[in-house]
């Protein structure tokens, strides 16, 4: 097997230069790429072009609170670190804590999970609900775009061949109610069959904000502001009247390819459960 060039930058500047010159595939934790390129025991994984191992770039690690209330997560921050951090929104912590099992969560990174853009990736789903932004840097530019705009479809992203994901930014949120579900084959070590996050701000009996996002229910995470707005501005008493119309609208938002009936029914029931809890005056906090 012909061997590909492998770079091991130690600083972000070095990594940006290598990426600019060679367009090398960026390898972070390896939990997706090392598996998809695997050739079996004892054989070097087969990459088709140059590879850049960025694990050594310390500038891309860590979680920080910003003065405006946002939280910045470095691209190389692992799922385990995210799941443990008090700074991170609970919906993202929930999703990170349910990825694979302990050892995998110590390797898998947020940058890799977004960059890989698998329809079953766990972190894009809460990130899109939270209106998270991703920062893309090249040798001579930097842009910040919504994760929802970054992921174009299954394994397709807006990343240019000279850019690197450097961080993710979570804007501050003030949800009064949150809801998270992951359906997998087991409690641990399971790829998502279906995930759902939902969140609401209820003030003086009125739904001031409502959001949902569906993972593994289509080529990319599904979210619809138009559907969400059917519930926004309604009183808790009005929720039961608009619930079915909303659920129908959400059913049009998702586009599951495999087992569509199962995924559509389960999504509908999870959302109905959350809306019913709100309508019933569920105390603030997590709806379980």
């Amino acid at each position: 097997m012909e061997q590909v060039k492998c770079y091991m930058p130690q600083t972000l500047q070095e990594a940006l230069e290598i990426r600019n010159e060679t367009h090398a595939t960026i390898l972070a934790g390896g939990s997706d790429l090392m598996v998809s390129k695997s050739m079996g025991a004892g054989i070097t994984p087969a990459f088709s072009g140059p590879v850049m191992l960025i694990a050594g770039v310390k500038e891309l690690k860590g979680i920080r609170a910003l003065p405006d209330g946002s939280v910045e997560i470095g691209a190389l921050t692992t799922s385990a670190e995210i799941s443990r951090s008090e700074l991170v929104h609970p919906l993202l912590r929930d999703a990170a804590s349910r990825m694979g099992a302990i050892a995998l969560r110590n390797s898998a990174t947020i940058g890799g999970n977004i960059g890989n853009a698998s329809p079953k990736g766990d972190m894009p789903q809460p990130l899109i609900l939270l209106d998270a932004m991703v920062v893309l840097k090249s040798i001579d530019s930097e842009r910040t775009i919504k994760v929802d705009d970054y992921i174009l479809g299954s394994k397709k992203t807006a990343l240019s061949d000279n850019e690197i994901i450097t961080k993710v930014i979570l804007p501050p949120q003030n949800f009064t109610h949150i809801f998270f579900r992951k359906i997998g084959m087991r409690r641990a070590n399971a790829i998502s069959k279906l995930t759902l996050s939902a969140a609401a701000v209820v003030k003086d009996g009125i739904v001031v904000d409502f959001r949902a996002s569906s993972g593994a229910a289509g080529p990319k995470v599904a979210r619809s502001r138009a559907a969400e707005e059917m519930l926004i501005g309604k009183t808790l008493q009005e929720l039961p009247e608009v619930k079915d119309a909303f659920l129908d609208a959400w059913n049009n938002v998702i586009s599951p390819h495999a087992m569509p009936e199962y995924r559509r029914n389960s999504t509908r029931r999870m959302l109905a459960y959350f809306i019913d809890a709100l309508a019933a005056g569920h105390p603030e906090g997590r709806v379980d």
């Binding site: 492998c6 091991m8 390896g30 390797s107 409690r187 641990a188």
Partner: protein, 160 residues
């Protein structure tokens, strides 16, 4: 040629000069003859190849060796003669945790990380702690009891 990869392996400084894209598991087994770490699934899901990297449990089959530059690694060979390692291994032997044995090096490494962080785990915490380690003999109950035994018998070691 390739860039050097420098890391600490079971307390010894190593310089690896081969292809940095090789799987860490292959390098451990083939280059350093550390065959305690096993290959089960090769996809980071079964835990048979678990080692400790900078104090955290990782599966060595999904890590390219170049990604451990500057890291400290511990394999089953690096802990088996230590006080903590002996405590776990003795508890496994005493309680009969081992059936075919294939998953055991990984289980021991997971136990080591668990007890280092949580010297007195509940049954649920033990089950979470080894949730990434699959025993194909399905002998989980005895393994869980033996981890409990290691925590009790080694209380003075883990609480240090």
């Amino acid at each position: 040629m390739y860039n050097d990869v420098r890391f600490k392996l079971n307390g010894k400084d190593m310089i690896y000069t081969g292809d940095p894209l090789r799987r860490l598991l292959d390098v451990l087994r083939e280059d350093y003859s550390l065959t305690g770490s096993k290959e089960g699934c090769g996809e980071g899901e079964c835990g048979a190849c678990s080692i400790v990297k900078d104090g955290e449990l990782v599966t060595s089959c999904i890590i390219p060796v170049g990604a451990v530059n500057g890291c400290e690694l511990l394999t089953i060979e690096g802990i088996r003669d230590t006080e903590k390692g002996k405590c776990i291994i003795d508890a496994y032997a005493e309680g009969g945790a081992v059936q075919c044995g294939f998953c055991i090096p990984g289980m021991v490494m997971a136990t080591y990380c668990l007890l280092n962080k949580n010297p007195n785990p509940s049954e649920e915490e033990i089950r979470v702690g080894i949730s990434g380690n699959i025993c194909r003999c399905t002998g989980y109950d005895l393994i869980v009891e033996c981890i409990r035994l290691a925590a009790e018998k080694g209380a003075s070691i883990w609480n240090k």
